[in-house]
Each structure stands twice: as C-alpha cells, then as structure tokens.
C-alpha cells in the first residue's frame, strides 16, 4: 500500500511537471484530487487499513496531497507567467468606454463666471420676475411716461401696465424698496426686447449690479468694474469709461474694452472703432433713491448691467447670437 502511494506521488509530480497548459492541469487535478481521484480514493480507503497502519498511512497521504497541491500551485503560477509573456495585448487604439457627460449652456457658464467674480467681492445674488409692471421696469427707475428715453429699449407689452422686463434693473427698485443700505446685489436673469438680427435676440440674459452705501463714489464704480473686467477677460484688457445716459443713473457711463478681435486696430466687430461696448453703468440717480425713500444727502451708490450673450460672444468668438437658442448639440457640445 505504501508503495502505491509513493508511485502516485512520483507520477503525479511528473505529470504536473510535464503539463503544458492550465487545461491539462485541470485534468491532472481531477485525476488525483477529484472526487474519484487517486489521492482522494487513497484517503477514503484509510479506514480499511488495520488500525496500527492508519496513522503512518494517513500521515503519508497528507504529505503526498500537500506536495501535489504545492507543485500544482507552482506550476499554475509558471504557466500563467508564460501565458502573460506570450500575450501580445489588446488594440489600445480602439476607443475607450466613456460614461456620457453633458454640457452646460454657454450662457450659464458665463453667468456663473460673472456671479462668482462678484460674489467674491461680497455681492449677494437676487432674482426677480420676468413679467414686470411698468412701475418697476420704468417709473421707479426714473423713466417718465411719454419720454423718449423709453424708446431706448424696444419693449414687449402685455397690457398698458404689464410688460416683459427690458432689463434686470427692476430688481434695483424691488431690493431698495425692501432693504436699507448698505446693499450689494447682483441680479442675473432673462430680459426681453423686440428686436431680432445677427446681434440681437428677442430674449437675452443680463447681470445687473447694485452697490449702495454712504460715500460710494464714481471712483469706486470704476474700481469695481475695472477689477471685474480684468478677471472676466484678462489683466491686460484696457478699458475706458465714457459718458452716456440712462434715466436711472447719473452720471452714467458706458464701459468699453479694447476690441478683443482686432486688439484696437479696428474691425467689423467693433465697427472700426477699436472699442467694444461691454456694460452700462452709473451712479444711482437720486430720483431712484427717492422712490425707495432713502436720504439722498447721505446715501450714494452705483449700478451696472451687462449682456451675458455679448460677453460669451467675445470670449468664445461666436458670430451669430441666434445660435444660442437653437439648442443644436453640435453647438452646445463645444462648451
């Protein structure tokens, strides 16, 4: 009996040694340690042995099994290594498995950029209704009835006193009606003007800003807007403030930046002027403060407003503003 187990040991180790692949090793495993394998059978038959032989035989069969299993394990490792050596790999040039990722609308991207710049300067964000009353959109902003200033904006009317807001400025009046200075707000949102061509869409987005406190000066307005423009474009962007007119600010200033397309030499985008209008601004008109019940002797402030699409057009070099609202994924996917 002992002899037999020694033969089994010798043969099994030889077979393992000669095995060529994992499949062969599988059948060797079955042959020796499977349910009806030689080593298994030998173990099962131990009980048939005389009791005095059993301990030695048991010990022997365990040795054989351990030797078999460790030889097998070693062989598996070496065969696997050979397989790995022989493997030439995959075609890494095939495209990867990509989890789908969407894109944000460029208007959202730029609005966020604007808001985060002003948030870091301590401005709070507020939002307001898009269908407004004549009072908040015009009257409280010092636009008299029957005044040509109302023509500066092509207004969509719903009825005599209800309209689609032409700017985000009504929130100036709404905020000041509710709160007392100091105030620092920006108001992003949709605005509407009945005008449509390559540079105008009947709906577009603005970000309005308002800072009201004691002793706010025109110099502060220049300071805040200069930092903003240097952040949203770049530090080298030169800008100029030039006199303009808005009924709700005085003095009013249009802010121009050096044309980002031609760097000031003059091109189609800047109508050969070398400058691009980027935002409107000014010191809050005392008439507006009066509507809010503020003391105009003490309180001063400034307000500004900018078109988001225009900034996006300049930053991304988009030439047709109407593209923003077709929602063509070939366009949206570029941002």
């Amino acid at each position: 009996m002992n002899k037999a187990i020694e033969d089994i040991q010798k043969e099994s180790l030889e077979e393992i040694d000669n095995a060529k692949d994992l499949k062969e090793l599988d059948s060797i495993t079955v042959k020796y340690t499977g349910k009806k394998g030689f080593i298994t059978s030998f173990s099962k038959n131990l009980s048939n042995l005389p009791s005095e032989e059993r301990p030695a035989a048991g010990k022997k069969v365990n040795e054989v099994r351990t030797a078999f299993e460790s030889a097998l394990a070693e062989k598996i490792v070496s065969i696997k290594r050979e397989i790995e050596e022989a493997d030439t790999g995959i075609d890494v040039s095939l495209p990867g498995v990509r989890p789908a990722q969407g894109a944000l609308h460029p208007v959202t991207i730029i609005t966020r950029e604007i808001c985060s710049i002003f948030s870091s300067m301590g401005f709070n964000i507020a939002e307001g209704p898009e269908v407004e009353t004549d009072y908040y959109n015009f009257e409280a902003l010092n636009f008299p009835h029957n005044h040509p200033a109302r023509e500066m904006q092509d207004t969509y009317y719903v009825s005599e006193n209800i309209l689609l807001r032409t700017h985000t400025s009504p929130m100036q009046a709404r905020v000041m009606e509710k709160e007392k200075p100091p105030l620092k707000y920006i108001v992003p949102g949709k605005v509407y003007r009945c005008d449509s061509d390559i540079t105008h869409t009947p709906m577009f987005h603005q970000v309005e800003g308002l800072m009201v406190d004691e002793n706010i000066s025109f110099g502060d307005l220049k300071g805040v807007l200069t930092s903003f423009i240097h952040q949203i474009f770049d530090e080298d962007t030169s800008l100029r403030f030039r006199p303009s007119f808005f009924p709700f600010t005085e003095p009013s200033a249009e802010v121009d930046i050096r044309c980002v397309i031609c760097r000031g030499k003059g091109c189609r985008v800047c109508s050969q002027t070398g400058w691009l209008e980027i935002l409107g601004s000014g010191m809050v008109h005392p008439g507006v403060f009066e509507y809010a019940g503020y003391d105009t002797e003490v309180i001063t402030g400034f307000a500004f407003g900018m078109g988001v699409e225009r900034i996006a057009m300049l930053k991304y070099g988009i030439d047709d503003i109407r593209k923003y609202y077709e929602n063509d994924i070939r366009f949206l996917g570029q941002f």
Binding site: P95, V97, P99, A100, G102, A103, L104, H105, V107, T108, C115, S119, M121, G122, N124, I125, E127, P129, E130, V131, N146, H147, A149, M152, Y156, Y157, V158, S159, L164, C194, S196, T201, P202, M203, I216, S217, F218, G219, D220, K222, G223, V224, R240, F241, R242, P243, S244, F245, E250, P251, P286, G287, T300, Y324, Y325, N327, D328, I329, R330, L332
Partner: protein
C-alpha cells in the same frame, strides 16, 4: 444725428484731425458711431483730357471721344452738348460707384455700337455742383491722371452721432460745435443774421392766436413777400447732402438747413392758402380728418395740437404740415413758423399718428425755448436773400408762458464726494461756464448756477455733477476700491441648488438647453391639454415679432420637443437635453402672471452614442426615470414614490408609460413617454421620453441638513425570492410593502429580475427580489436569517396573491 466736419467748422475752430475729433466727442458723451469720408468716390474719378470729340455715326446727340487718362488714350461716348476737343474733364472709370448711380458700379459697354470705356461726368453727377446741363469743365492747369479728390482738394467727413435722449441741444450743429468749442477753450461762433431792408408791418398781413398755451407756450412768425421758389444754390444743397438730407426747393431747404444748424424745426406756409390770413393754435376735435404733406389722411384726437387758419387746420403742430398750405412752385408769400411745443404733447401725437419726423424727434426731446426767435430770423433772412423776396418788417412773437431758467445750488464737497475727485470750486465753475452755464460763487462750498435754455436736461444738482465729470473727463477720475467685507457672499438656496442640479445632470449625460420664453399659442393644442388645464391660461404679448412668439410659455416641453426635431433633422438622433426655466400662468392681461420655475428634460435615441463593443440600444422609460431617481437620491430627497398616471392624468404622455413623482405627500413632477399624437403634432419621428419637475416643489423636498450613518461593522447576508404575480401588480407596491416591514435585521431590498414569456402563464410575470439582512452587533447566522426571510416572503406572497415558481 449726422453732422459734417466742414459745416461744423462754420461755428467752431477745429484743429484736431478727424480721428482725434471723433474720439474726443465720444469721450464727451457724444458717441461717434461712424465716420464716413464724403468724397471717397472721387478717388475713382480722374482728371482727363478730351483729345478729340467726333459725332457718333448713329446718334446725333452723342459724341465719340478720344480721352487721355494720363496713362493711355481710351474711347468714351458722351452725350453732353459742351464736349469738345481740348477740354479738361472729370472721367469716371469702370467700377466707380457714384452717389447718383444708386450703388451700381459703372461698366464698360457699347453705346449704339461704339465702345465706351468710361463716363465723362457733370457736376451734379459728382455732387460737386448743381449744373446738370453739361459736363464739368475743369481748369486746364490740373494734372491729367490725378484723382479728382486730390485735384480739387475736396475733403469732408460725415459723422453719425448716437445721441442719447438727454442731449437735444446737440440735435443742431451749433450744439455740437459748442461741445467742440468747450474742448478748445473757445466759444461757439453764431451765424450772422443779415440785416436786410424790410418794409411794411407783419401785423397788417397776418395774426396769430394761441388758444392752448400749455401745449404751445410760444409761437413766432415772419413773412416774406414776392419770393420765387426755385432750386437752392449749390452751397445750400451741399450742406444738406453732407448730413444726408435731400434738397427740394430753396424755401424747404432753408427751413431744413436752419433746423440742422440750430436744432429748431421750422415750418413754411403759403400765406395765400391761409383763410382769413390768420393762425390759430388749438386742439383738434376728436375724430377730425386731416391730410398731411405725405399724402396720408390722419384721424385726429382732442389731444392733438393743430395749427389752423381762420377756417380749417393747416398743420399738425410740431409734427407735419398739411397738403392744403404746402409751399408750391407758385408760392410767393411765405409765412414762416418757429414755435415751442410741449414735448409730451408732441410725443403723444407722434405715437398716436405713428408719425415720427425730424421735427417731432426734436420737439419731443425738447428744443431750446429761448432759441425760437433766433432760428426764425435766421431763416427769414435767408429766404429773403435766396428767393429774391421782400422781408416784411417785424415778427409775431406770441409767448403766453415764458421759459424760466433752471437755477441750482451746487455743493463742491458733494460733487467731489460723488465723483471721487478733488476739484476746487474754481475748477468746477470753469467747467460749467465752458458750456454756457451762468455760475457765481455763493460761499466757499456753494455755487449758484443758472442753466442755459438749451440744456433742458438739467434740473437737479446731480445733472451738474455729471457735466463736471464729463468735462473733467471720466478718465481723470481715479480708480478707488470700496471697503470690501472680509467674507464673500453665499448664493441663495434657489441659485445654489439650481447650479448643483445642473452639474449633476451634466454628469448624467444631459446637455443644457435654453429656449425662448415665448411660444405660439397653438402649443396648448399641440400638447393636447384639456380645456380646463391651467396651462391654457396663456399671457399674450401685444407686439410679438412673430406669431410663434406670441404668448408666454406655460410649459417647457414644447421648446424641448422643437429642439429634438431640430437636432434629429441635423442627424443627431441621440439626444439628452434639459432646461431650467420659468413658465407663466396668466392671471389676466392686466396683472403679473404666476411665474413657476420648471426643470424638464427630453431623452431620445440610443442609450449612448454607438460604440464598437456594444450593439446600439434605444432609450426607454427607465432611462428617463433613472436620471430622475439618481438626481433625487443625490439631493437626499427621501420617501420618493413613482406611481402610474391614470388614463385621465396622461395628457401628452402615453398611458401605461407615465408616472408621477411624489415625495412625502407632495407631487414633484412626472416622467413619461411622449404620446404618439403629440409626437406627430411636433413632427417627431423617434420615441421621446420626458421628465418635468416643479423646481419649487423639488427644492422644498430637499432636506435642510444631511444625515450620515456610521459604516456597518458586520457583514451582510443576502437572500433572493422569486415569485409569479399577475401582470398588473406593480413592483413598486411590492417594494413598498417590503420596506414597510418593521424588521430590525432587514436592511434593504431591490428588484433583481423581471421575466415574462416562455414558461410563465399568460397574464403573469416573474419578479425576483434580493433582500439584504444585517445586524449592528453580530455576524448573522444563516438559521436566523432564513427564519426572517421565510416569514417576510410568506407575508408578501399572501398580500400579492403570488405563486412560487
């Protein structure tokens, strides 16, 4: 407002070149939008010499000329009677665009069989004179081959000023010149009114009565007799052409010329057409009809101010004259009107009649109430001079309401504080005086300022501060920084979560769309909304640009479906779009609507873009639902259930493929497959799945704070159960039942398989669930788990009348 450089030079010395001038005007608040070189086309016209002119063989009135261009000799056919050998002429070469050729370039061609390689021009064709009878005869000393621009040293620029509505004083060239003069530290030079011999007395010829002084505070008139209507002299035509006006006849041209010069609109009547030789200024009767100069019959209202004669209206005051008193070829008695009308009245009338003119543009912004008489006298003298007429002595000046100049106190300290400047009181005074404010120093901080009449925009001290800032130069104001708080502001919840949700959707493969807030009013029908649906309460826009932008949207879905159509048409079949935006439910046209922010999405096409390793698979209801589920879970919204929409509740989504989303007891929105009819209504070919959520309700379901739980220490044990239930039993109900079990060791349950078909009886389906069990304080024993699992399974099987496979 257009001005020309040469004309401006009449009123102010200009030493700057055109670029410097336009820059400094822009920086003074008169934005120069365009600068056009007026005679640019004369660069294409050259000085040439007619070597010979012979009769055209086939046309009596034409000549065939040999013309020396300096480079070569070419043949030109010319129809002018004065063309002859040796003449120095202006020759336009092929390609030239002349002001009189309506934008078309000249071409080489054949005239009656003779080739013609250019055009010999008349003065009028070149807009350098009025002679139309023959070609221009140039000085023989000019160099052949030079451009006409160089040879005649003609140079002028037309500047277009984008005037803001607060500066009507610059609607006349003198006003613009005043700004230039201020920059040059000089003062504006007024044109001279010639002191012509006059006779008689105007009061013997005509009278003026103002019946409504509120609407017409001042009316002045002058009279010229024996005038002869004719074309204007060249200098006058040239002035008008230089600012884009068309010459008509000497009298009309003078009124336009003086209006451009002073900003005061004028009107000329033919006195012979005024009955009873008098002018009455009064309101029209409601509903009266009147034919204006442009040949249109207008219906008047009682708010319209009319200029009438003894019997009838002859002009809409300050707006447009009438046909019945128009200056004609045979007019000899010219009654000239210069008046000041109420700006609001003019604006109302212009709006009501939908009639904007150069006159209304000025009157509604406010002309100089003190400039009325100057403009009248200036124009009357010019008319007498240029028409050979006789000026009648005196003027009529009815002025029932006198203009009162604005008087203001201006504090130096407040001015400096508001502007961030440190100007002395003298410097402020000097700035204001440079644009003709009368200024005196009241005390060390206060200036007493009287505004000139033409500055109708000045009514408060802040208006003066703006003048100071503008004249000092905005660029001279130092940049300062307001004291900033040490913390940056946090966005409000509504903004914060909107941004967060957008980012999550981005990660879930969705792209953001933004659509117009207005849509066509047929969209309620396209969406098949029932008659009583709130979304039929659409807010109409009175003046939409197009019909399909006629109402405010009451749903975000139509926009997204249109986007889907657009993208599908451009070969993008696979699409996942979402949009955040307001919808507007009307509360009646005279009130603000209820604005509700919605979050909606549409998905269509493949689950992902086609790839090499996997067959394309179409999106299903569960892809849309999965996006919503993932979003809500990431927002930590709990107790969310999705229940099937009843047939009645399915409006634009298909029955059996639609679910409402409920959190707690609040309905947040819906998910569904777009109904076939709706798909057809929007011209869609592919299946589409939408979700639509109320952002407000979604936000209110977001928990205020985030609860975390400790990670489990002991391993979990899972058990499966498969059961066969009737087909209409919802898996969601079974899950809900499981989750309702108050069994401490039961942790979670999920659907692991759904099977219908072979081996399953018709009308039934096989559902498998995987349950997870875990204890907080020990490793669970199989025996214990089996007991709980069997017990729970039994209760489910009974409840849903299920069978084991």
């Amino acid at each position: 407002m257009k001005v020309s450089l040469n004309w401006l030079k009449e009123y102010a010395p200009i030493n700057k070149d055109i670029t410097e001038l336009s820059d400094s005007l822009t920086m003074a608040g008169l934005e120069i939008e365009t600068v056009e070189s007026r005679f640019e086309y004369l660069n294409e016209v050259i000085v040439a010499k007619v070597n010979s002119a012979k009769k055209h063989p086939d046309a009596d009135k034409l000549s065939v000329c040999e013309v020396d261009t300096g480079e070569k000799v070419i043949q030109v056919v010319c129809g002018a009677p004065n063309v002859r050998d040796g003449l120095t002429v202006a020759l336009a070469l092929p390609g030239t665009i002349l002001p009189t050729t309506e934008g078309k370039p000249l071409k080489k061609g054949k005239i009656r069989g003779e080739k013609s390689e250019g055009m010999i021009c008349s003065a009028i064709e070149l807009q350098i004179g009025v002679d139309a009878d023959g070609i221009i005869e140039l000085d023989t000393n000019l160099t052949i081959g030079d451009t006409l621009l160089k040879a005649l040293s003609l140079e002028d620029y037309t500047l277009e000023i984008g005037l803001t509505p607060n500066r009507p004083d610059c609607l006349g060239l003198i006003g613009v010149a005043r700004e230039i003069a201020a920059m040059e530290n000089t003062s504006v030079k007024f044109p001279e009114v010639k002191d012509l011999a006059a006779s008689g007395d105007i009061n013997e010829h005509v009278s003026v009565t103002i019946e409504d002084p509120e609407l017409c505070p001042r009316y002045t008139a002058a009279l010229i007799l024996d005038a002869k209507v004719a074309d204007s002299p060249f200098w006058l035509q040239d002035r008008l052409l230089s600012v884009g006006l068309t010459p008509i006849n000497n009298i009309v041209d003078i009124t336009n010329f003086v209006m451009m010069e002073t900003g005061q609109p004028l009107h000329a009547f033919d006195l012979d057409h005024l009955e009873e030789s008098r002018i009455v200024v009064k309101r029209a009767n409601e509903g009266d009809k009147f034919t204006t100069l442009d040949d249109k019959e207008r219906t008047l209202s009682s708010e319209t101010l009319m200029i009438c004669d003894g019997k009838k209206p002859v002009a809409v005051g300050g707006v447009m004259g009438g046909q019945n008193s128009e200056i004609g070829d045979n007019t000899t008695k010219v009654l000239l009107e210069s008046a000041y009308f109420s700006p609001t009245s003019i604006r109302k009338t212009a709006k009501k009649l939908n009639l904007g003119t150069d006159a209304t543009h000025r009157f509604e912004r406010g002309v100089d109430p003190e400039g009325t008489l100057f403009a009248l006298k200036r124009a009357a003298a010019l008319i007498a001079e240029l028409t050979g007429g006789k000026l009648v002595s005196g003027v009529i000046d009815e002025n029932p309401i006198k203009h009162k100049r604005t008087e203001l106190n201006l504090s130096m300290m407040q001015t400096n504080r508001a502007l961030g400047l440190k100007l002395s009181i003298e410097e402020i005074k000097k700035h204001l005086e440079s644009v003709e404010f009368e200024v005196s120093i009241k005390d060390e901080d206060t200036l007493f300022v009287i505004a000139p009449g033409f500055r109708v925009d000045v009514s408060r001290p802040v208006d003066l501060m703006e003048e100071v800032a503008r004249l000092e130069g905005y660029d001279k104001i130092p940049v300062t920084h307001p004291v900033a708080p040490s913390v940056s502001a946090l966005p409000p919840k509504v903004t914060f979560y909107r941004d967060k949700i957008k980012d999550m959707l981005l990660g879930l493969g969705m792209t953001e769309a933004i659509n117009y807030s207005f849509i066509g009013d047929n969209n309620a029908d396209l969406l098949m909304l029932p008659e009583n649906d709130d979304r039929r309460k659409m807010l109409g826009i009175l003046n939409p640009l197009t019909e399909d932008q006629g109402v405010m949207r009451t749903s975000v879905i139509p926009g997204l479906l249109q986007n889907m159509k657009h993208n599908n048409a451009n070969q993008n079949k696979t699409l996942k779009l979402f949009e955040f935006g307001n919808i507007f439910i009307s509360n009646g046209q005279n009130q603000q609507p209820t604005e509700t922010e919605m979050l909606a999405g549409v998905i269509t096409g493949g689950t992902k873009d086609p790839v090499w390793y996997q067959k394309e698979d179409s999106v299903s209801f569960y892809d849309a639902k999965g996006i919503v589920e993932e979003l809500l879970e990431r927002l930590k919204i709990e107790n969310v259930t999705y229940t099937s929409l009843s047939v009645d509740e399915c409006l634009y989504t298909r029955k059996g493929y639609s679910a409402k989303i409920i959190s707690g007891n609040k309905e947040i929105g819906l998910i569904g497959k777009v109904k076939t009819e709706v798909k057809e209504n929007f011209d869609l070919k592919q299946d589409a799945f939408i979700f639509e959520l109320s952002y407000e309700n979604l936000l209110s379901a977001v928990p205020e704070s985030l609860n975390t739980y400790p990670l489990p220490i002991y391993p979990s044990v899972t058990r499966d159960i498969t059961m066969i239930v009737e087909k209409d039993v919802e898996a969601g109900d079974i899950l809900k039942e499981f989750k309702g079990f108050k069994e401490k060791l039961f942790e979670s349950v999920r659907v692991s398989d759904l099977y219908e078909g072979d081996n399953i009886e018709e009308g039934y389906k096989s559902l498998s669930f995987r349950l997870t069990y875990r204890s907080e304080n020990t490793t669970l024993k199989d025996k214990k788990v089996n007991k709980i699992h069997t017990n729970m399974s039994k209760r489910i099987i009974e409840k849903f009348n299920a069978k084991l496979p």
